[in-house]
Symmetry: C2
Subunit: 221 residues, 2 copies
């Protein structure tokens, strides 16, 4: 397929897999990362390293808007101040709609660059209260962006219905992806080598174990 794609690259396992999926499918690929004040800066460092290995152009846009939204919600200012906590499963610092915002920024950049295809690693299989990772949200957003940009945009979500094992299977089948995964970041604790104990490390470990593959990340230990 002779066409261009923009991949949202967080530096994690899923978006790294998506980058290589896109490189396998599209003729020209670029990556976009958003620096929104991630808990660990190592995620962006991973994204940089992976884009470098993959030899794709990489843009990093910074925004403090999530911090602003979080701060505003925590600060009391009259009748309108009440912080709203809609789910007992989500932390109060959680800012909803993050994926919508990222994909809208990706859509605007794609439009300016003449790119039709956006690729994101959002996945409903490990949905845990993040409604903007759900398939219905993404499909609705594709319609919204296409209407709002006045030009058709396609949001590809190759991992939407895959288990972690299936994502590993996919990654291993993509040339070069295994090597890049050695630099992807997953650990919630921001550790490298990973702590191996946090829920994110455990989920990653389970996927590789079920796929019967050694995690390239662990070779660095």
């Amino acid at each position: 397929m002779k066409s261009k794609a923009l991949v949202l690259l967080s530096g994690g396992q899923d978006s790294t897999t998506c980058l290589y999926w896109a490189m396998n499918k599209f003729e020209h690929v670029m990556a976009l990362s958003i620096d929104y004040g991630q808990r660990h800066h190592i995620e962006l460092e991973s994204a940089k390293k992976i884009a470098h290995i993959a030899k794709v152009n990489h843009e990093i846009f910074a925004t403090s808007i999530f911090t602003d939204i979080g701060d505003s919600a925590l600060v009391g200012n009259g009748d309108i101040s009440a912080s709203h906590k809609s789910s007992k499963d989500l932390p109060s610092s959680f800012v909803p709609g993050r994926n919508i915002l990222f994909l809208t920024v990706a859509g605007a950049l794609a439009y300016k660059k003449g790119i039709t295809n956006i690729v994101t690693g959002t996945c409903q299989t490990d949905f845990s209260g993040y409604h903007d990772c759900r398939d219905n949200t993404i499909k609705s957003l594709q319609v919204t962006l296409s209407l709002g940009l006045g030009k058709d945009i396609i949001i590809h979500t190759p991992l939407m219905w895959l288990t972690k094992k299936e994502t590993v299977d996919l990654a291993i089948s993509l040339p070069g992806c295994g090597e890049a995964l050695a630099y992807s970041h997953t650990c919630y604790e921001g550790q490298r080598p990973p702590c191996g104990k946090c829920p994110a490390c455990k989920l990653r470990e389970k996927g590789f174990k079920e796929a019967g593959v050694e995690d390239p990340l662990l070779r660095l230990k």
Copy 2:
């Protein structure tokens, strides 16, 4: 109606009218402005002044993301660099999807504050290539945000089908709005008192003239 609303306030005539429309309709109202590197800083100063007069809480969030997108599109970087100019009517510095981005930020803030209603002055009547001001885009976005936030959000667009004359009629009917309009900013040239010659000044003048009302802004001259 006992409920809360968040108004996107640019500091212009339309969003000022929307602010007073919301104050007339909802029990609690707050305003949000986005500092995205407007050509003239006087717009944000107007927004501040108007929120102060209206006695509503006012948040200003800054983001450089539009500058980043614009710069990225202008910089050559390999095969993916070509700046895409889809319409001869829009300047190359134009970043599409701005309203989608603003409303998504508004949606996230509204969610955190327990607010269901968002009010914006977007208007299809003076549509001129900005697809994200169109009614279809806004209605699709309402669905996207409601899905993505996991909670119903209503985007109110009281000016969507009004002519400039009808917007003036509405503004004059809302208590206090006339006074506030004296501080609203419209002039493309960033002048105050307004230049009276640019397309924006001319359009505003036409609306007030057709409504048979003196523009409060001109009393300041």
